[in-house]
């Protein structure tokens, strides 16, 4: 699992059926690389989150048929830039 920061939300009206109606977020890692993650809990911009990758991302999304390779698993209570980079 990795630590990301939520940058913004991402709206895609036309999407794969198996992505269903779950919200998506643009997230960045400690080097500034952007990724898109599925968000089942409702993280806000600026929140530090733990993300789950690989096949566990599909389990974390609540249904193994959902087509995701990155899912937000939790919002971190206390975290700052210094311990991140």
């Amino acid at each position: 699992m990795q630590i990301f920061r939520v940058v913004s939300e991402l709206v895609t009206t036309k999407r794969n059926f198996w992505l269903s109606a779950k919200p998506l977020r643009v997230v960045e890692d400690c080097f500034g690389n952007l990724e898109v993650a599925l968000d089942p809990i409702g993280a806000k911009s600026g929140d530090f989150v733990v993300t789950i990758g690989l096949s566990a991302a599909r389990v974390a999304a609540g249904n193994p048929k959902i087509t995701t390779d990155l899912t937000i698993g939790g919002i971190i209570d206390h975290w700052d830039e210094d311990s991140w980079r």
């Binding site: 699992m1 630590i3 733990v50 566990a56 919002i75």
Partner: protein, 94 residues
Amino acid sequence: MKICQVEGTLVATARISGLQNRRLLVVKERGSSGKQVAVDPVGCKPGDWVIAVGSSAARDAAGSKDYPSDLTIVGIIDYWDETARASESARTSA
């Protein structure tokens, strides 16, 4: 499996229900700068050198096939001297 050093615990109160109340630890993989988060069913202290499994084995190692983990700690290494190993590898590459 990866060799990692435990940095500390990670508190995430708002989490998906599948993660349950398992302990999450911030770990640093040997030889890399980035930090990762691992599920800890073993009970490690900060500073411990541990072995962690990834991919779908991480789900099984966390206790069940339905547990959403991509990195799970499976053991604490009894003896690991990082400074000795670093100098040894520097000598062989020279």
